[in-house]
Structures are given as structure tokens and as C-alpha cells.
């Protein structure tokens, strides 16, 4: 038995047997030791079998760009929890408990996550009846008691056209002492659907994990499939994927900048950006016919190519959008009433961000330089460098500014790539045949942050497990912490500054 974790590269596959299976204590010590030395838990999940559960943990260290995979097996009905000393795994442990029916001893917040029946019939971490849908949102919420303490419950249905989720605030007057977020309303059972795949419908389900991150998740899935079947994407395909990824980031960042302006009541930027967001979506539609990049990607490359005329048209539209976006966003920094509302609100300190393992713009706004495009480069990012923007204030203002800085870098990138499109094919011709008994790990930087897909194939080349970790899974606790000691009326603003995905979390 190997006694060291296995280091693998982003977007590669190795024989599953090469993953070291540690004793429980060594497995947990490895995770604790690594996270204490600024490693991140990118994925932690269980693979239930009839009488045992295999636990796998994907640890990543951004400074060196190393991915470790470690495993452990247990035949017990319970497993020791390390959530109290390693908050990064708090949600992961609850997820494993809910899916595999494994009870985590001494977990400080041991409650369901998505409110679905256990995936292993007859094994339930909370001793509930087999196969029954547990009532969603019914659990013990953390409560603050005392004179003048009151509780505010919001959701699942919210006021706007947004996804459902339940929020419980413990308040003292206007001040929020604690916020607990309970999700699961959007649970569509995606991981169960992916099992036994790849099916013909798999890629479309991946694209709809989080609709606004269609390309981010689709690229991760295609990387998994390419690693498992040994296909190489031609350079032109990689460039087109990079352009689609950055257009997705641009559309969402532009939309968020407008929405944040709207939440502080500054209508000029709000209305301009709402429209400019559409300009970027329309550029994606020019690439593939769908404003959200649906149907753009296939394992091996992209479904659509770009003609020279289309390229020139995109360049012209990008130049126009750049002027419009700069004009709209720069108004924010020049308006004292806007800055007064953004600065100092929803503060997440660096230490908290590190302990929770935040990812993406939310992490970078708190001073963590963490970006998969830079730290674990994949696709076209292996050839070109996108500077990582970071701030250190950790407030709404920092999360707003990060978006604008990233948007500028993305526009530079798209322009550069459009100008120097490599010749050749945009997709590899080989058909996909998935190799057996492998594990593949793929990470991409979606506009919300790190997306991690892990696939394990069985002896017939089917997915025996396909794990998806959306950036929102890491970041929802960050929003809860941002609300501490804030006015409850600042919740919409803080929420918008994170703009997390409900369905990406709920899967």
C-alpha cells in the first residue's frame, strides 16, 4: 500500500487502483495537515457499495499547482467528523452523510443538506424511513436566544425572478447575529442521473447544472471525457473554448455589476449593464446559436467553428461593448453615494475566507490569489496568461471591483485570441471510448470560481461515480459569514455581491 497521496495533473486520468487507501486516522490526518498548510479541499465524496463506503478526497495546493487524491474505506455505519477543526469539510461531510447514509460523529451541524432520500437503500444517517422524501427545510436551525432577539425567515420563494432557497436570520434589532442558509429546493438528482454514464443526455445535464455557468461545467466534463478516452483537443478548439468561457464570465460580471448598482439604488449603471450583459450573451449566441453556450462544446473540441467574417464581426461587437461597459461601470467609482454603500459592507476577513476555503472572485476579494486558469492551467490557459486580480478589503466594494478588473482582463483575452486564431480543425475526429477502471479529475475556473469534476469508471467503462463540485458549494458559507454584524437590510446587497448558484449547490 502506498503511504503517500497520489499527485495528478488537472485534466488527467490514472488507474483507480493507484489511489492510496489510507487507514481512517491517516486519511483524516492527511486532510487536516494539508488544509493547515493552505491546501484546499476541492472535492470530498463517498462511493457507497453494498457493505462498505469508499471516501475520496481531492486536495489542491494553488501555489504549486498540485492535486492530491487520497482515499479511505470504511465498513462502519459512522465515520469521525473533522468539520469542527476544518470548516472546509463541513458541507462535504453532510453531503456524504446524506448520499451514502454514513453518520459523521461529533459533526457540529449534523443536518441534511438537500433533503433527498439516501442513495443507498436501507442506510440513512438520520435513521429516516427508506425511500421517503424528507420534508424540505425541516431541521434544527441554529438559534440565538435572549431579550429582543428575533428570527427572520425568508424563502424558499423570493421576491425576484431568482431561484429558491431558505434563509434564517437571528437578529437583534436590525443587526444580524447569525444567518443560516438551507437549500435543496432545486435538487434534480443530477449525480444519480450521471451514474452509469456517459449517456447521450449527459452533456445536456452537465450544461444545466448551473445554467449561467453552462460553458464552465461543460469544459470540465469534456476535459474528463478527453482524459478518459485519450483525445487531444486541437488548438483551434481550445481557443474557441477559451473565448466561450471568457464571454460567459463577461456576461455574468457585467450583469452582476449592474445588479449591485441596482441594489444600492443607482439606476444609470443598473440599466446600462443589464443591456450590456445581453451584448455578451449575443456574442456567445453568434458562436453557437445559444445565448448560454448550449450545444457549443463536444468532447474533443467544439461543435461550431468561426469563419473569418464572424470573427471580424465579434471583434467589432467586443470593441463596442468595451466602451459601453467602461462608461457604465466607471460611473460607480465616481459616485460618492454608491461608494458609501459598497465600502465596509459584508466584510469577509482573509482568515475566514481561508478557513472556509472560498473560491473565485469572492476569495480573491478577500486577498486569496486563487484562480484555476493561473494555478492549474488547462486548455488555452496553458499557452497564455490571464493576470489574477485580487483585493484585500473583502467587502462588497472589493467583490464589485474584482469583477470589473476581471472583466477587463477577459475582454483583453478574447480580443487577443480572436486576432490570433490558430488554423486547423476545431474538433478531434476520434470517437469517444472511455477507458475502464480509471479516475479523472478536471478543474476549470467558472465565473464564480473553481469547478471540480471527478469521474470514476468501472470495469465496463461506465461512470461508477461522477462527482460535481460547483463553486457555490464552497462559497455559500462565505455569504453567511459576510452577514454577521451587518444590517439585515444589507442582505440583498451582500447576496448580490456573491451571486451564488442555488441549483449548482443543489445539483
Amino acid at each position: 500500500m502506498r503511504n503517500r497521496p497520489l499527485a495528478i495533473a488537472n485534466g488527467s486520468a490514472v488507474p483507480f487502483g493507484d489511489i492510496p487507501q489510507f487507514e481512517t486516522s491517516i486519511f483524516l490526518e492527511t486532510i487536516l495537515d494539508a488544509t493547515a498548510h493552505s491546501w484546499n479541499v476541492s472535492a470530498y465524496f463517498g462511493m457507497p457499495d453494498r457493505d462498505e463506503t469508499t471516501l475520496l478526497c481531492v486536495l489542491t495546493r494553488h501555489t504549486e499547482g498540485v492535486i492530491w487524491v487520497v482515499g479511505a474505506k470504511t465498513r462502519e455505519a459512522s465515520f469521525p467528523s473533522i468539520a469542527a477543526i476544518c470548516p472546509q469539510v463541513q458541507l462535504f461531510e453532510r453531503e456524504i452523510a446524506e448520499q451514502c447514509g454514513l453518520k459523521f460523529n461529533r459533526h457540529p451541524w449534523f443536518k441534511p443538506l438537500r433533503f433527498h432520500p439516501s442513495l443507498v437503500p436501507g442506510r440513512d444517517a438520520w435513521g429516516r424511513k427508506s425511500g421517503e422524501q424528507p420534508p424540505v427545510g425541516v431541521m434544527d436551525y441554529f438559534q440565538v436566544t435572549g431579550d429582543e432577539i428575533h428570527e427572520v425567515a425568508v424563502g424558499p420563494v423570493h421576491a425576484g425572478i431568482i431561484e429558491p432557497g431558505h434563509f434564517r436570520f437571528q437578529c437583534h434589532g436590525e443587526e444580524v447575529f447569525h444567518l443560516e442558509i438551507s437549500l435543496g429546493y432545486q435538487h434534480r438528482g443530477i449525480e444519480s442521473l450521471l451514474q452509469g454514464g456517459p449517456h447521450p443526455a449527459t452533456l445536456r445535464q452537465i450544461e444545466a447544472i448551473a445554467g449561467d455557468t453552462t460553458t464552465g461545467h461543460a469544459v470540465a466534463y469534456c476535459m474528463v471525457m478527453e482524459a478518459l478516452s485519450g483525445i487531444r483537443v486541437p488548438p483551434r478548439g481550445e481557443v474557441l473554448r477559451g473565448i466561450a468561457l471568457e464571454l460567459e464570465r463577461l456576461a455574468n460580471h457585467a450583469g452582476d455589476l449592474g445588479a449591485i448598482a441596482g441594489d444600492v439604488g443607482y439606476l444609470p449603471t443598473s440599466s446600462f449593464c443589464g443591456r450590456i450583459r445581453g451584448d455578451f450573451l449575443n456574442m456567445t449566441a453568434a458562436l453557437c446559436g445559444s445565448r448560454f453556450g448550449r450545444g457549443m462544446l463536444i468532447p474533443g473540441g467544439t461543435r461550431f467553428d468561426l469563419t473569418e467574417g464572424e470573427r471580424d464581426d465579434l471583434l467589432a461587437r467586443l470593441a463596442e461593448a468595451r466602451v459601453d461597459l467602461a462608461g457604465a461601470v466607471n460611473l460607480l467609482w465616481d459616485t460618492p453615494s454608491v461608494m458609501g454603500r459598497l465600502e465596509g459592507v459584508g466584510h469577509v476577513p482573509l482568515q475566514t475566507a481561508l478557513e472556509l476555503g472560498l473560491v473565485g472572485p469572492a476569495a480573491r476579494a478577500s486577498g486569496i490569489k486563487r484562480d484555476i486558469r493561473n494555478d492549474f492551467p488547462y486548455g488555452i490557459y496553458r499557452m497564455t496568461n490571464i493576470p489574477v486580480a485580487s483585493a484585500f478589503h473583502g467587502d462588497v466594494c472589493a467583490r464589485t471591483m474584482i469583477r470589473w478588473q476581471e472583466a477587463q482582463k477577459s475582454m483583453d483575452f478574447v480580443e487577443e485570441q480572436l486576432r490570433q486564431m490558430p488554423a486547423g480543425n476545431h474538433a478531434a475526429k476520434e470517437p469517444c471510448s472511455v477507458s475502464e477502471g480509471k479516475i479523472a479529475v478536471a478543474m476549470t475556473e467558472g465565473w464564480r470560481g473553481e469547478i471540480c469534476h471527478v469521474a470514476v469508471t468501472d470495469a465496463s467503462g461506465k461512470f461508477s461515480r461522477y462527482k460535481v463540485v460547483d463553486p457555490s458549494f464552497h462559497n455559500w458559507p462565505g455569504l453567511a459569514m459576510a452577514l454577521r454584524e451587518q444590517q439585515i437590510s444589507d442582505f440583498p446587497l451582500c447576496n448580490k455581491s456573491f451571486n451564488l448558484s442555488y441549483c449548482g449547490f443543489d445539483l
Binding site: I162, R188, G189, R204, Q205, G274, A286
Partner: protein, 248 residues
């Protein structure tokens, strides 16, 4: 303040002239299928891989169910052709099924009584019941200055009590079923129901997942079906304007 005014002048007037002037769709946009392409030979060449969502029925002449279709371009290799026509919505579920001979049935306007009530002001309460935020995002787009849905008297409201209709996105997850029904109950009668997107119509990419109810048809009376994954804002607006008899 001066800067804001200057920016306003530079940004200009951006509300599109549609429906007074036609709308230009992206070249690769996949809209109403070319009926002639749904012929027997296409059915044969496409029969082997088949449509993973059951949208393309290869039995007989071949038919495409727009309510199940994700417009994913997967069947273009098999010979199914899509036109640029974004007018896809329908008032009846069966009108979404396209065959080489089918007569195209677009959205029928509301009844005279309902038009009298809703014709100049129609408010929706939107509920995402497992929607992936793509449908939701493109509904939000309709309220931006580019589309300005408000100019037609159509708005989305925060409270179901202020609404005239329920707007559903998502395949209806088991965990949202109760909240969706409660919202429907909270809307005063008479009310209409809109199923927006492939998920809300028939489950979309998540059709037959044990955690979803395959859309709204089984338990709510739907007045407007808007196909797409997600529907283009133009498809949504076209459906709404036809429902209110503002175009036809």
C-alpha cells in the same frame, strides 16, 4: 451627476423597435424546425443514436416535439434542420408537435373576458422550481431597457397576491412542489399559468429523474407553453404578445 448625464447620452436610446420592426436573430440560432427535414430518411439516419430526451419520434414520418426539444444541435448531424424563426410558443401542448404535414398553430389570444381583464396590465409571479437560472436570466432580460417589457403592460411582481398569473421555470423538483402549489393558490382567480422552457413543459434534460415531476402539465392547467432551453427572450415576448392579441 454631470458624468451620469454624459454617460446617458453616450449610451443612447437602446430599446429595440420590435414588434414594429423585425428582429434579427443570430445566424446559428435554432428556431422552428424546417418541416420538410423531418422526413423518413432523416428519421432513419437519426434512429440509431436517437434523441436522448425523446423529442424526436422516429416512428412513421418522424416528428419533433418542441416541448421536449432542447435545440441542442445534436440532431443536425442526423439531418434535422432548424430555421431562424423564433416564434415557437403555443397554447396547447399538442400544438408543439411538428411533423412534415402538421399545420402550424401559434399562440391563440386569451378569451375576450380575460383580455378585458389582462389586456392592458398583466402581472406574473415567477417561481423557479428546479430551473437552472438560464430561463430565469432570460426572463430578467425582458425587463431590461433593451426589451422593456413594461411598455406592453407586462410585469413580474414580488407578491402572488398582486399577480394575474403563475410563471413556472424548471422541471418541478419534488422539493419545490409544495411551494409551487402554495404560490398558485395564493394568486387570485382568474389566473393563467405559463410553462417557460423545456424543463417546465416536460422535464427538459432532467426528464424522468426520480427527483423531478417532469414539468407542470400533470398538476396545473397551462395556458402558454414556451419551448427552448432556455427560450430566447424573443420567443418569450412573441408568445406573450400573441397571448394578449398585440401581434398576430
Amino acid at each position: 451627476m454631470l458624468r451620469a448625464i454624459l454617460a446617458r447620452i453616450k449610451q443612447g436610446h437602446r430599446t429595440m423597435p420590435y414588434p414594429a420592426a423585425p428582429l434579427k436573430m443570430p445566424e446559428r440560432f435554432r428556431g422552428y424546425p424546417v418541416q420538410a427535414s423531418l422526413c423518413k430518411s432523416t428519421a432513419l439516419s437519426f434512429a440509431a443514436p436517437g434523441c436522448p430526451y425523446g423529442a424526436f419520434d422516429t416512428a412513421g414520418e418522424g416528428s419533433l416535439d418542441l416541448g421536449k426539444c432542447l435545440f441542442c444541435a445534436g440532431c443536425q448531424a442526423g439531418g434535422v434542420e432548424f430555421s431562424n424563426d423564433f416564434s415557437l410558443a403555443a397554447t396547447r401542448r399538442e400544438n408543439l408537435i411538428v411533423t412534415p404535414e402538421s399545420v402550424r398553430c401559434r399562440v391563440e389570444p386569451l378569451s375576450k373576458e380575460l383580455l378585458k381583464l389582462f389586456g392592458r396590465s398583466l402581472k406574473f409571479r415567477e417561481v423557479s422550481a428546479g430551473g437552472c437560472n438560464a430561463c430565469e436570466a432570460d426572463i430578467n432580460v425582458l425587463s431590461t431597457i433593451g426589451w422593456d417589457l413594461g411598455r406592453f403592460g407586462i410585469q413580474f411582481t414580488a407578491s402572488p397576491r398582486h399577480a394575474d398569473g403563475l410563471w413556472i421555470t424548471g422541471p418541478v423538483t419534488k422539493n419545490m412542489h409544495q411551494a409551487l402549489l402554495a404560490t398558485y393558490e395564493a394568486i387570485p382567480s382568474p389566473k393563467i399559468v405559463v410553462a417557460c422552457g423545456a424543463c417546465a413543459i416536460n422535464g427538459g434534460p432532467f426528464i424522468d429523474s426520480p427527483q423531478v415531476l417532469n414539468g407542470t402539465d400533470a398538476f396545473l392547467p397551462v395556458d402558454l407553453y414556451i419551448p427552448g432551453c432556455p427560450p430566447h427572450p424573443a420567443t418569450i415576448l412573441d408568445g406573450l404578445l400573441r397571448l394578449l392579441n398585440k401581434i398576430g
